[in-house]
Homo-oligomer: 276 residues x 4
C-alpha cells in the first residue's frame, strides 16, 4: 500500500519591482516572492483531480495584483496580506510566503536614479494558517571580515589534525540569519530589522572571536538582550578561510599581510540562540 | 536569560577525486563531501572553550585519509565509515555526512580518459548516532521533458486566473528526489540507485501527466511498488514553463512547435510518497 | 572633440525550444540565441534618433517567427537565415547571430520524453554582411579528464618556482573550441560537428600529454589533418588542477589515488592551430 | 601543413587578500588576478618542449610574492609590477595582467572589521611589452536604475514589431565600462577611477534617456570632456527589461507602479566613445 505524505506546491522566483513616485523623490521596492500552499490537495496527487488546485500562474498574478494595494510597508506585512488571501480558499490549511528584498539607494540627490546596494538581502517567511500568522525575518548575503581579534586555539588534536593554533587569524563569513518574534509582540518590522542588523554588525565589529561558534553566541545573545521583540535567532556562518601565503620560503616576511582567500572547502557553523 | 538552541558545525565543499588504476581500465570517483557534528558543544559557544571542538580542518583531512581505505563501494558506505569515525569522540552525538557524486564515463575504449557525464548527480546523507545509522539516498540535477501526454486543466478560476486550460503542454522539470529505506533492509545501494533511477525515468516517460502533482504520485508509487527496499521518496519538481510563442499575430501557424522556455518564475511542487 | 567608435547592439539570451512531432518520435531543439547589429547607427547615439533602430524586442520576435520556417537543419543554417533577414534593412552592415544548442536525448524508446544531455554545448556564430556569410562553429562545456599519460616536467625554475616535476599527473579540463571553415567549402555542418567532436575526443583519449599546450597542438593538428573543411581551430583549455592529497603524513600511502580537486586558481591555455 | 597561430597561457582566478594594520585602522585589499604570457612558446606546442614554459604555478607564487612589495597603490601599478616581472624572461613578448578589485568598507568606527561593499568591482588590464605598458581601467557589476526620464520611441516598425512606444519606461542596467588613457598622460589611477565613476553615476542620474544608445553617448561624452586623461571609453549595457504588470485586466489601475523584472532575454548595447 502506498500513501501520500507531506506535500506543498506553489510558485517561486516571482520577480516584482514597485516604484512610488512621490513629490520628494521616488521609492523603489525590489522583491523576489515565493508562494507555497498546503492543505486538502491529496486528490490532486492520487486522483489527478485539479478542481482544488489553485494554478501557480494564478499565484503569480495575485502577487502582482496585491502589490498595488498591500506592498506599502514591510515585506512581513505584504507576506501577511498574500498569505491571508490564499487562506480564503477552504482547501488551503497553510499558505507560506517567502520574500527576499533587494536594496536600491539613490544616486546623489537624484529623485529617480538608484544604485543597487548589495550589502545584504532582507528576508521574510510568513506562514498563514487558521490559527493566525507565523513570521520569521532575516538577513542574507551579508559578507563581513575581521582582520584582528579573531583566534582559534585549544582544539583537540588527533592523528589527522594538522591545523596550527592561531591567536590572530583573518575571519571572513557570509552571514545568513533568521529570527522569530516573542508571542504577542507588536512588532515594527522595518524598525526591528534595522535595529537587529545594527546590533549584528556592531557586535561583530566589537567582539573578540575565539571561534565562529563563540561569535554566534556573543552576537545572538546581544540581539536577544537588546531587542525585546526577538524570541530566537538562528545564524548560519560559513568560515571562508584565508590562509597566510607561504612567502617565507622565498625569503619574504609575511606577518599576516598577504592571504590566499578560498571558498572550497569551508567551515559551516549553524546555531540558534534563544530567549529562555 | 539567553540559552543555546539546536546547533551543528562542520566542513562543507570538500572536493575529492579517487582514481583506481586496474588492469582493465581506470575507475574515477568524484565526490563533494560535507561533514556536520552535533553533540556536547555548548561550552564552545557559551564559554568559548574549544577543547571538544574537532577542527573542521581535521574533518577535511579525515575525509581524504579515510577515502583510501573506505571509498571502495557506494557513497552510502563511505558516508557510514566517515560518520562512525567521528562518533568515536564521546562529545559527538550525531555525525551527518552529505555526499554528492558526479559521474564520468570512459571516452570510447580508452582505459584512462573520461568525459564528465552531467545527466544527474547522485546524493546521499548518512547520519551516525549511538543508535546506528540513518541513510537517505537521492538524485539531483536530472533535467527531463515530456513533449506530449502532459495536460493541466480543470483547475479553479478566480478573479486573478488567466491561465488557459491545456490538454497538451510541454512539461519540463529538474528532478530532485531523496528516498529512505525500509527498516532492517539489507540494501545494495548501488544496485538500488540504478534500479530506482531506471523506474523514475521509465515511468516519467510512459505516464500521462495531468499535473506535476499527479506525476509525482505516479512515479513515487511505482518506485514504492517496484522496489521493496524503499520506504518513502520525496520529490521536488520545479515546473520550468515553456510557453507557446505567439506567432499567430504574425500570420504564422504555431501548433505547439515553437516555445519560449523560461526559468523565472517557476512552479515548485514537493511531495512525499510512502509505503503504508 | 568627442567621436563615436565601434558599436553594436542587439538582443541576448533569447531562449527557444522547437518540437517536431513526427510519426517515428518527436525531435527537440533547444537554443539560446543572440542577435547583434552593426551599421549606420551613429545618429541613434549622437542625436538620439531612433528612426533606424530596429527594436531588440523586434529581434526577439523575429527569432521565434523565423524558427518556424528556418530552424529545420543546423544552427549554422538558422543563424544564416536570421543574419540575412536583418541585413534587408539598409542601415545594417553586419548582423551577427550567436547560437548555443543544448542536447536532449530520448529516454529509452519513448517518442516524447527526453533527458537533458549536458555532455557539451554546441555553438555557432554567423555574421552576415553584404559580402556574404562568415561562419564559426564550436563546442563548449565539455569536461574531460586523463588519469594517466599526462606529464609536466622540464619547465624552468626560478626563485618563485615550487611546483614539482611530474611524469604522471591527473589532467582535467573544460574544453571550449571554435573553428572556421576553408573558403568555399561546401560544409555539412551537422556532420562536420559530429566528426570534429569525435576526433577531439579520440585524440584527447589516445595521446600522451606533456603539457596542455602540447595537447592543444596534437588535437588541433589532428582536426586540421582529418577534416578537410576546417581552416583553423582555437581551443581554450583551463587546467583544473587535481593535487595528490598529502596522506603520507598520516602514514597512509597515496600513489596517485586520492586527489584534491580544485577550480581556483586554474591554468588557462589558449591557442589557434591553422591549415597553412 | 599545419601551423600554430596566436596563443597565450597563464594562471587565472588567483585570489589574494592583503591586510595592512596601521595605527589608525586596518586597510583591506581584495583582488582576483590573472596572468597571461605571449611570446616564443611555439616549441612548447609543436615539440612538447617545456624548457621556456614558466609554470602557471610559478605565476601564482609570484603574484603573492610581489604583493608584499608592490601592492601598495593602485591595481594598475601592481599590474605593471607583475607585468614587468614576467617580461624579464626573454621568451616573453607580452605579459598581460588582469585584476579585479573588490571593495570592503569599515563597519562603523571599528579599525579591523569590514563589510563587503558590492556596489561595483574595479578592474584593470595591464599589458607589458618591450615597448612599454598599456593600461586599461574599468568598472563592472554596477547595477543602476532610472525610474523616470527614460523613453524609447520613434523606432521603425516591421511585420514582427509589437513593442509599444513609450515616453516613460523603467531603465535598469548592469554597467561594464573600460577606458584607456591619453598617451603620455601622468595618471593618478585611484583618483581617476573615483572621478570617472562619479561622472558616470552623476550623468546617469541627471540625463534624460531616449535610448540606451543615447545614454552611452551622453555618459561617455561627459567622461571624455571632464577627464582630460581619458582617451576612450567602451561601455557595455544590458537592458534589463522591467515590464509594467498587466493589472488592468483585474480592474486594478497600474500607472507605472508595479513591474515584472526580467533578465532573459535582455537587450545588449556596446559602444566606444573617443576623444577625437
Amino acid at each position: 500500500m502506498t500513501t501520500l505524505g507531506p506535500n506543498r506546491y506553489g510558485k517561486s522566483a516571482i520577480r516584482l519591482v514597485r516604484v512610488d513616485r512621490g513629490a520628494g523623490g521616488h521609492q523603489v521596492r525590489d522583491l523576489t516572492v515565493a508562494i507555497a500552499l498546503e492543505g486538502d490537495f491529496d486528490s490532486s496527487y492520487i486522483e489527478g483531480d485539479n478542481s482544488l488546485v489553485v494554478a501557480t500562474d494564478t499565484m503569480k498574478n495575485t502577487t502582482y495584483a496585491l502589490a498595488a494595494e498591500h506592498l506599502t510597508g514591510s515585506i512581513e506585512a505584504f507576506g501577511a496580506a498574500l498569505g491571508r488571501h490564499f487562506l480564503r480558499d477552504s482547501q488551503v490549511d497553510r499558505a507560506t510566503v517567502t520574500i527576499d528584498e533587494f536594496m536600491w539607494r539613490p544616486i546623489g540627490d537624484a529623485p529617480d536614479s538608484f544604485l543597487r546596494d548589495r550589502s545584504w538581502t532582507r528576508t521574510a517567511v510568513v506562514a498563514a494558517t487558521g490559527d493566525g500568522l507565523s513570521v520569521e525575518s532575516g538577513i542574507a548575503e551579508l559578507v563581513v571580515m575581521k582582520t584582528s581579534r579573531s583566534a582559534f586555539s585549544g582544539f583537540p588534536r588527533d592523528e589527522f589534525t594538522t591545523l596550527a593554533e592561531t591567536e590572530d587569524r583573518l575571519l571572513a563569513t557570509k552571514v545568513s540569519a533568521t529570527w522569530r518574534y516573542v508571542d504577542g509582540a507588536d512588532v515594527d518590522y522595518d524598525a526591528s530589522f534595522t535595529a537587529v542588523t545594527r546590533t549584528l554588525l556592531d557586535v561583530f565589529a566589537e567582539h573578540h572571536s575565539v571561534s565562529v561558534q563563540a561569535s554566534i553566541w556573543i552576537i545572538g545573545r546581544a540581539i536577544i538582550e537588546r531587542h525585546a521583540e526577538i524570541a530566537e535567532i538562528t545564524m548560519t556562518l560559513p568560515n571562508l578561510h584565508h590562509w597566510t601565503a607561504d612567502l617565507e620560503r622565498f625569503g619574504i616576511p609575511n606577518d599576516r599581510q598577504i592571504y590566499v582567500s578560498t571558498t572550497e572547502p569551508h567551515g559551516l557553523i549553524q546555531a540558534t540562540v534563544r530567549r529562555a
